[in-house]
Structure formats: structure tokens, C-alpha cells
């Protein structure tokens, strides 16, 4: 036994030794509020989880108010980081400026919007952008109701449409790319924030068709087939490869986070962003996101470094 050291039991000495033995660098604390796109959320949630295991005192709250909702809170100074599935809009920038909130933009991943049909669907292996437009444009509402109206070669099967809610960045992006203008879409589809409903809906109807982020497709490959998209250069299916190299057009898109520069002065926020940037490949893989290609990853690193210098 080491009972002999008992003589040093003096309160003052103990206090000093306690202070010294505290790890000076590691233990960060504080709360980091993050909100925004539900598409980006899983990536940040995974990052938050892993980071949280190393820094249990740092409290990360991740909300999913949607890209716009996230910016709203962000520019009101309520959150430290905004998640976005599209670049910030000018109005939103103005709102941030009005509140003197400086921010930076970091591209953290790539998404491939995936058009899915059920396994029983054998005909729609590849659709052109025009065909997708024919299905989704406002003029189709109440008119294009069966597959043979899209292409006479397709069977006369009822067309059942599913998609994300109108308030998501995904909807905005898809409508812009396919219908040519943001938020322009037929209204008689089943919108859902809940991708599970899209999966179930499409899988449950022979003539079903829907679209959502690539992640969800990966999770449900057993139930759904991804449609190849032909934007003029032949049919390309969604995959990490095609999204990264840009051949999956027009439906691949960048995903961002926007840190508040002032908030970056807090060590725990910097630490989190640093951690995310340093481990972006593993995190994205873990969250089943399409990772950045090397150039994109290099840009992320330089962008985040310059943000840190801004914050001082």
C-alpha cells in the first residue's frame, strides 16, 4: 500500500495540485446551436455525435427548421451555425448584415437528388430532363396522371407522385433544375418532410415516383430503383462518383454550413468547425453522404482557415 503519503493531507496543497492536474487544453464547455436544412442535418448530427464523445461538456443542439428557417434564426443571432442545401440568398444576406452578423460559407458535402421508382417499375430506367419536366411542371397538374402520357411506350399505370415539402431546399433545387424556376411545380403530389413517407409511398404504388436526397436512396436500395437522368449527354445514374465528377447533371448539388464569425471566437465553436473540416471525409461517409472530391476538400480547408483568421 501507499499509505505513507498520507502526511501531505493539507487542504492548501491539495487545492493547488488539483488545479495543476486539470488538463489545460482539452475540456471545452458551452452550447452550440445549429439549425437549418434537414438534408444537411444528418451530416452535422454525425459530426456532433463524434465530437460530443471527445468533448462531452460541449452541448450541440441541432435543429431542422429548413434552410430558410435556419438562416432566419442565424441572422437573428440565435444560432452559431446555419445548415443550408443551397447558397444564401441576397435577402438573407441583407438580414444578416442588418444585425451585423458576419458569416462564412463552407461547402461540406455533395448531394445527388435521386429520382426513385419502385422495384416493380421496369420501364422507367432512364428519364430525360424533359420527361421529368413533363411530369412535374405546373401544367401537368390534374392532366398528366398516367405513365403513358409521359411516353407512349410506357404502360398505362397511374402516376403517383411523392416529393419533399415545399419548404425544403431540396424542393427548391429540384424545381429550379427541372422546371426551370424555383418552387414552380405541380401541387397534386404528396409532399413530405418525412422521407420515410416518400419511400413507403413510392414502394407501395406500382406507378409511384418520387425524389429526395441520395442518402435516403442508399438506405432503401432494396425497395427502390434510382432512375437514370439524361440531360443530353446520355443516361447517368446517381452515385458518389457521378455526383463528385459532375456528370450527374443537373441534379447534383453542393451542401453548405454557414458559421457565424463572431461565434467562432468561442473556442468550442472553433473546435467543432475544425473538427468537422479535419474529419470531413470520415464524417460524410459515416453519415452516408457523398464525400467531397480532393479539390473541394482543399477549398474547404483554405476557406475555414481564412474564416478563423477573420475571427481572430
Amino acid at each position: 500500500g501507499g499509505g505513507e503519503t498520507g502526511t501531505t493531507a493539507d487542504p492548501g496543497a491539495e487545492a493547488t495540485s488539483g488545479a495543476e492536474s486539470a488538463p489545460a487544453a482539452a475540456a471545452l464547455a458551452g452550447e452550440i446551436k445549429i439549425d437549418g436544412s434537414s438534408t444537411v442535418a444528418p451530416l452535422i448530427q454525425v459530426a456532433a455525435e463524434i465530437f460530443g464523445e471527445e468533448q462531452p461538456q460541449v452541448k450541440l443542439a441541432v435543429g431542422t427548421s429548413g434552410t430558410g428557417g435556419g438562416f432566419e434564426k442565424f441572422c437573428a443571432g440565435e444560432t452559431a451555425i446555419a445548415n443550408a442545401s443551397r447558397p444564401i440568398k441576397d435577402e438573407e444576406k441583407a438580414a444578416c448584415t442588418a444585425k451585423a452578423i458576419n458569416f462564412g460559407e463552407l461547402r461540406v458535402a455533395t448531394d445527388a437528388l435521386t429520382v426513385v421508382v419502385p422495384k416493380e417499375n421496369t420501364w422507367a430506367t432512364c428519364l430525360t430532363v424533359d420527361q421529368l419536366k413533363k411530369i412535374w411542371e405546373p401544367g401537368a397538374e390534374g392532366k398528366v396522371m398516367t405513365w403513358d402520357q409521359v411516353d407512349p411506350k410506357f404502360p398505362k399505370e397511374d402516376l403517383k407522385l411523392f416529393g419533399p415539402g415545399t419548404d425544403s431546399g431540396t424542393f427548391e433545387y429540384f424545381t429550379e433544375e427541372i422546371n426551370g424556376e424555383k418552387n414552380v411545380s405541380r401541387k397534386d403530389y404528396s409532399p413530405s418532410e418525412d422521407d420515410n413517407v416518400i419511400v413507403q409511398g413510392v414502394a407501395g404504388a406500382k406507378g409511384g415516383l418520387g425524389y429526395f436526397g441520395y442518402t435516403y436512396y442508399e438506405e432503401n436500395m432494396d425497395k427502390l430503383t434510382a432512375v437514370q437522368v439524361d440531360s443530353g449527354a446520355g443516361c447517368v445514374g446517381p452515385s458518389a462518383q457521378s455526383a463528385q465528377d459532375g456528370t450527374y447533371t443537373p441534379l447534383s448539388r453542393p451542401l453548405f454550413i454557414y458559421p457565424n464569425v463572431t461565434e467562432l471566437k468561442r473556442p468550442e465553436v472553433t473546435a467543432f468547425v475544425d473538427y468537422l473540416v479535419a474529419n470531413i471525409a470520415t464524417i460524410a461517409k459515416d453519415a452516408k453522404f457523398i464525400t467531397l472530391n480532393p479539390e473541394q476538400e482543399a477549398k474547404l480547408k483554405t476557406d475555414s482557415a481564412s474564416l478563423k483568421t477573420q475571427a481572430g
Binding site: 452550447e31 446551436k33 455525435e49 435543429g63 427548421s65
Partner: protein
């Protein structure tokens, strides 16, 4: 004299086949009640079987995780719910009871403003909870600048249950017979002495029962939190009233929305936890009522 007597034949008191209709009616009534109860049973059985595989300590010891559904739990939701309920109890119950005392013991309801208060309370009890969410968002979070914190959630929920607390407390107070009040006042007690020493002690069991039932409604609310954008992935417990938080019903809503089957099982298991808390509170209410209810 016998001539005046009613003939024996006229004195037949046998019924005329009424019982069958009566029985059918009774059975119809009973089965209506049964339908509601069967639903309750079915619902409990369904969630219990669905959630069974995940009904273990992982559920209440772990924080939610998107990476590992198998170890994911709802600890932060349970903690958030307890915070909200605790604060709601502290804010809504005293306010509600005081308001009920005012309305029952002081308010002269020939006065327009007292009638307005009453009508207003009845009306608030019917206002959809999502509208309270708008109130929380627009006034409490933004205008009062409480942000998206436990405090905002608790104030919103307090306002939501306040009418229910007031209504049930009024009933409990009204159940105290007027003769008790008269007896006290006739001895020269002031009105507040009468209330504090006679009316309140006699109505406490009723008030407690009503309050518990009101709080058990608060426990299940999700809609206002949806409006308040309470964070969904919270991997910590609130450490104060100005902390971020999530609540159990909102977590359940989010788990249901996940596409992975594991999360649905987790949702069912979380529902069982929520229902268990609820049943516990209800049993407490029933016990209180049976134990202390006064029959005048």
C-alpha cells in the same frame, strides 16, 4: 262492498315484452364504451409489441444517435420533458389556482369584466395547441426575447394548460359546500381567512387531481414545440432554464419520420416510456381522488 272492488283480471301486473328493446339499448351503450376501451387496449398492445425489442436501459440512458440506432436513446427528451413539466407545474398551477379562487370566491359575475374573463378562459381551453405555438414563437421567443429555450417552452405550455387548471380548480372549489363558507364568515373570519383556512384545505385533493390531469396533457404536447423549432438532435440534458432542449413527443415525431426501421422501433419504445409516465400520473390522480375526496 265486493262490487266496488276491481276485478282480479284487471290487476295483471305482468310486463309486455319491453325487456328485449331495453336490453339491446343497454348492450349498444356498453359496446360504445367498449369500443373506446378496445382502442385503448389495442394501442397499448401495438406500441408495446412494436417497441418491445428496444425497451431496455439503452432507451433512457443514452442520447439520440443517428450513427448507431442500436444504442440510440431518448434521454435528452425525457430530461427535457421533465424540465418542461416541472417548470409548468411551478408556473401554471399557482397561477391557475389563484385565478380559480378569484373567479369562484371574489368575482361578482354580474360585472362584465368577470364574465369576459370566464368566457375567455372557456375559449382558451378550446384554442388549438398549434396556435399556442404561434404565441410562443411570436411573443415569447421573439418579442420577449426568451429565445428557443426551456423557458420559452415552459411558458408556452403553462399558458396552454392554464385554462384547464383553472377550470378543474374551480370545480374543486365549487364542490366545497357554501355552508362551510357561511359558517366561517359568521364567526367574523375575513374572506381570505375563510378561503385559506377552510375552502382551500377542503378542495386541495380536487385541485391536485385536476392539476395532475392537466399536466399529463402537457406532457404529450408536441405541436407547440414544432412551432418553437425545438432542436431535434440534442445530445445533452438541459442544465438550466436558458438551455436548449427537446421533448419526448417531439423526439417521437422525429423518430417516426426517419426512414430506418430501427428508429420506428425506437419510436414505439419511446411511446411506451411516455405512456408509462402518463399512466403513473393518472394513477396518482386517481389515488388522490379516492383517498382524499370528501363526500359532503
Amino acid at each position: 262492498m265486493a262490487l266496488l272492488s276491481t276485478p282480479r283480471s284487471q290487476v295483471d301486473l305482468v310486463g309486455k315484452g319491453r325487456p328485449i328493446r331495453e336490453h339491446l339499448f343497454r348492450i349498444a351503450l356498453l359496446s360504445s364504451l367498449a369500443v373506446a376501451l378496445i382502442f385503448l387496449g389495442l394501442l397499448l398492445a401495438y406500441t408495446l409489441t412494436e417497441g418491445w425489442p428496444r425497451l431496455d436501459s439503452r432507451l433512457w440512458e443514452n442520447f439520440p444517435s443517428v450513427r448507431r440506432p442500436e444504442t440510440s436513446g431518448v434521454l435528452s427528451g425525457i430530461a427535457g420533458t421533465l424540465w418542461i413539466i416541472g417548470l409548468t407545474a411551478v408556473m401554471a398551477l399557482p397561477t391557475g389556482v389563484l385565478a380559480a379562487i378569484y373567479l369562484e370566491e371574489y368575482a361578482d359575475n354580474t360585472k362584465w369584466y368577470n364574465r369576459l374573463i370566464e368566457l375567455n378562459i372557456a375559449n382558451l381551453a378550446a384554442v388549438p395547441s398549434i396556435v399556442y405555438g404561434i404565441l410562443g414563437l411570436g411573443i415569447i421567443a421573439r418579442w420577449l426575447d426568451f429565445g428557443f429555450t426551456v423557458m420559452t417552452g415552459a411558458v408556452t405550455i403553462s399558458l396552454l394548460v392554464l385554462p384547464i387548471v383553472i377550470i378543474s380548480a374551480r370545480e374543486a372549489i365549487r364542490a366545497v359546500p357554501p355552508s362551510i363558507r357561511e359558517g366561517s364568515l359568521a364567526l367574523g373570519a375575513t374572506q381570505w381567512q375563510t378561503i385559506y383556512r377552510q375552502v382551500l384545505p377542503a378542495s386541495i385533493p380536487g385541485i391536485a387531481t385536476g392539476s395532475i390531469l392537466a399536466l399529463s396533457r402537457a406532457i404529450g404536447e408536441a405541436a407547440p414545440f414544432l412551432m418553437l423549432g425545438a432542436a431535434t438532435l440534442v445530445r445533452f440534458n438541459p442544465d438550466g432554464v436558458w438551455s436548449s432542449f427537446t421533448v419526448l413527443p417531439l423526439q417521437i415525431y422525429n423518430l417516426i419520420s426517419q426512414s430506418r426501421e430501427e428508429f420506428h422501433i425506437l419510436a414505439a419504445a419511446a411511446i411506451v416510456v411516455l405512456l408509462a409516465i402518463l399512466l403513473l400520473m393518472n394513477s396518482l390522480a386517481i389515488w388522490l381522488r379516492n383517498r382524499y375526496q370528501k363526500r359532503w
